[in-house]
């Protein structure tokens, strides 16, 4: 038995050595600082953040920004756990909760765009060009009649939170209805399902544009209305060790250089921008919208 124990001890020590040698964090290498930013998959998937991070790196060569892309709920939760230095999300009601808990500081709005209600080209519910509120009511009725379906993300993402808010605002509850399909998945998967079923759904404009050529059955039906506004905010995590650097990054997002890049992003590819910069727009209007959205319960 003795030789066994010796062998196991040697193997254990070897394993320990291996673990410890590979666990030298980036920080030890020269004087590189790592800034960890959690964000949402839909925002990250557009590629905007990597572009902005590269620009930031030009000014701050010894900073490495690492983006961790998950759902809005998870992104904010990671901030609460202390695992990230900053958060970029677009779910005002969740953001307010975490602000009040002291996890994150006051938000800095750095971009916005609109959610869109998309649906089948035939539009059985007849919602084209209506206001978002009217559209939701008509969609509900059409679904109840059996001529339409609605697909929800069902995953507490920014899009899902807004969808729930819309239902709430018009006083309707689709939960449990047979025509209300919750995918629990990402935006692109949800759009695919909507395409399959020729159903209505709420989407962010970025994902829809990117995916348009695969979605033959769907088209944008409603894209106007304050309630559809999608506000992107950046937050500093108050417990972060790199709080000053995080602040610098958030401030960079609203600098003229970054804002110009944001406004031009996607223009070439899709013929329309994916995001609107806040410089030049009414920042009061945006702040008001944020307040309204964050206090709406969903």
């Amino acid at each position: 038995m003795k030789r066994y124990k010796l062998l196991m001890l040697i193997i254990f020590i070897a394993a320990l050595i291996i673990i410890s040698t590979c666990s030298c964090p980036l920080i030890l290498r020269e004087n590189i600082t790592v800034l960890r930013v959690s964000t949402t998959t839909s925002l990250y998937a557009t590629g905007l953040l990597d572009m902005l991070a590269d620009k930031f790196k030009e000014k701050h060569p010894n900073v490495v920004i690492q983006f961790i892309a998950v759902g809005s709920g998870e992104a904010l939760k990671k901030a609460a756990m202390g695992d990230v230095d900053a958060v970029l999300v677009h779910a005002p009601s969740l953001e307010r909760k975490y602000i009040s808990e002291g996890t994150i500081g006051e938000g800095t709005i750095f971009a916005y765009n609109y959610f869109v209600i998309v649906g089948p080209k035939e539009d059985p519910a007849g919602v084209k060009c209506l206001s978002p509120e009217e559209a939701m009511v008509k969609i509900f009725n059409a679904c109840e009649k059996g001529v339409a379906k609605f697909i929800s993300r069902g995953d507490r993402s920014g899009t899902h939170v807004r969808e729930l808010m819309l239902w709430n605002m018009v006083g309707l509850n689709p939960k449990g209805k047979t025509w209300y399909i919750e995918t629990g998945g990402g935006m692109s998967e949800t759009l695919m399902v909507a395409n399959e079923y020729r159903a209505y759904t709420l989407s962010d404009i970025g994902t829809f544009l990117k995916f348009k050529n695969k979605l033959n059955e769907l088209t944008v039906l409603v894209d106007r209305g304050d309630i559809l506004i999608n506000i992107y905010s950046g937050y500093v995590v108050l417990s972060s060790e790199n709080i000053n650097l995080a602040k610098e990054f958030i401030e960079f997002l609203v600098s003229s250089e970054a804002q110009e890049a944001i406004g031009n992003y996607g223009l070439e590819e899709y013929g329309q921008p994916l995001f609107y910069p806040i410089v030049g727009s009414s920042s009061t209007m945006l702040k008001n919208m944020w307040n309204i959205l964050s206090s709406e319960s969903s």
Partner: protein
């Protein structure tokens, strides 16, 4: 062109991370599986049952558990291991341990039945008999290490939860595929999936080739 470069980097990282995970897991699974084989006690049998049932643990669940442990607000957060390739290796090593032990005990078990008793009957000590069993069961050993590696490199839940899928740092094949799916780039995702399968196939073939003397 840049795509090929980035993809190669991801493939190499996957191999390295999962390879390290397999080395770690083998380091403690092999002796443990062996001890379980030669012990006749009840505890040994209970442990074997526990390991057999842990094989099916969902990777997301394990990933979440590890995340909670290594998060800055968690008990082992002081090591700052979260979102590093290292923690993925550790996580995957934990993931494949029950699988390797289960595989080892069942495949070596047959070898042990015959070879062990013969060796002891000829005068071998327990240690010598163990070495003989390992030599005779070499093929099963290699196979179980390969099984562990393939499971590690193909898992998603752990790599995603504790690695964070950070571009250029912790992005591995499986998390890259998941990202492309969420972006809607299905074609790219499938391409990457095929690359992953070819990689594992190549490694399996190479190992078998080297092993057949």
């Amino acid at each position: 062109m840049e795509f090929i470069f980035e993809t190669s980097e991801i493939v190499l990282r996957s191999i390295f991370v999962s390879g390290l995970a397999t080395v770690l897991a083998s380091a403690w699974s092999l002796p443990l599986a062996f001890l379980l084989l030669i012990s006749e006690s009840k505890i040994g049998r209970i442990l074997q049952d526990i390991f057999n049932s842990l094989v099916s643990i969902p990777t997301v669940v394990l990933g979440l558990l590890l995340y909670l442990i290594f998060s800055r607000s968690g008990p082992l957060g002081v090591f700052s291991l979260l979102y590093t390739p290292c923690i993925i290796s550790i996580g995957q090593a934990v993931l494949i341990t029950p699988l390797m032990i289960s595989f080892l005990t069942s495949s070596l078990g047959k070898v042990k039945e015959t070879v062990w008793e013969t060796a002891i009957a000829l005068g071998a000590s327990k240690f010598q008999a163990s070495i003989t069993v390992l030599k005779e069961g070499y093929v099963q050993l290699v196979r179980s290490i390969l099984v562990g590696f393939n499971r590690a490199i193909g898992e998603l839940g752990v790599a995603l939860m504790v690695g964070g899928n950070i571009r250029g740092y912790t992005r591995v094949m499986t998390t890259a595929i998941a990202l492309e799916v969420s972006k809607g780039n299905f074609d790219l995702a499938i391409t990457l999936g095929v690359v992953l399968l070819i990689t594992t196939l190549a490694i399996t073939v190479i190992v078998r080739f080297l092993g057949a003397r």
